[in-house]
Symmetry: C2
Subunit: 150 residues, 2 copies
């Protein structure tokens, strides 16, 4: 696949993750969405549900990993890409590491809780990680949410 095609695909799929983040926003949840893509097919869609479920583990990525594994019938996601609107936290990066996922694409950085700062080796050593895709859209949704709650 050419770089141009990859960029177009990444933007397309990040928009789908953003759709999930917008759904979280509507539900009063911190607006983060994630999808898992395997062989050009979306096999999992999820958004943050920590408030609704009263469960700190209910991050978008955690749910997406569980849904994707169920869909594939196995626990490893080697041939998959996870798209998430915000940089994963320590917990989610640790889970992505266990899943052996090949590629992670995220939107905006999370300066306070992102894994790059606190657990830089969490992901599988061969995983390919890209950040900044639709950065401003992902960030704007987060800023809007927190501004309204101040």
């Amino acid at each position: 696949m050419s770089t141009e095609e990859t960029v177009k695909k990444d933007i397309y799929y990040m928009q789908r993750a953003l759709d999930e983040a917008k759904q979280a926003y509507k539900e009063g949840e911190i607006p983060i969405g994630a999808i898992v893509v395997c062989k050009n097919k979306i096999i999992a869609r999820a958004h943050n549900l920590t408030e609704t479920l009263h469960d700190v583990t209910a991050h978008a990525e955690m749910q997406a990993i569980t849904i994707a594994a169920n869909e594939l019938g196995g626990k490893y996601l080697e041939d998959c890409t996870l798209y998430v609107t915000v940089e994963p936290c320590i917990m989610c990066a640790g889970a992505l590491g266990w899943s052996q996922i090949k590629r992670v694409v995220f939107g905006c950085l999370d300066e306070k809780r992102g894994y790059h700062e606190y657990a830089p080796k969490a992901l599988h050593p061969k995983a390919n990680v890209i950040g900044g895709v639709l950065d401003s859209e992902c960030k704007a949704l987060m800023q809007r949410f927190f501004k309204e709650r101040r």
Copy 2:
């Protein structure tokens, strides 16, 4: 509470976590067990179910956090202690951090995957962490499991 009482309690509760780990062993799962104690009451018991559920996120601690939060009807576990037979991994330590749990007691170290090495700041800064409780029992169960699978 005196130091002696605390030690006795920690040993008692770690034995309960070991009961869970032994259950995992019987089910062919990596034998790790966890419990959550709140005001001298066990409010969650769980063991590793990654194989059974085909889900890398189904670690004992993750399930114990979810069960405990359900039991308390809120997502934070400030007044709780988690006992787990093996040092938490990055993912579980990240989840424990989000849960704001006050105290974590673990059995044996996990030299390869433990959070101390890869995400030392994962837990809440005020969390009190103790390791090595029933170290040899916890370690022996793990070694037995892996030896039988070699």
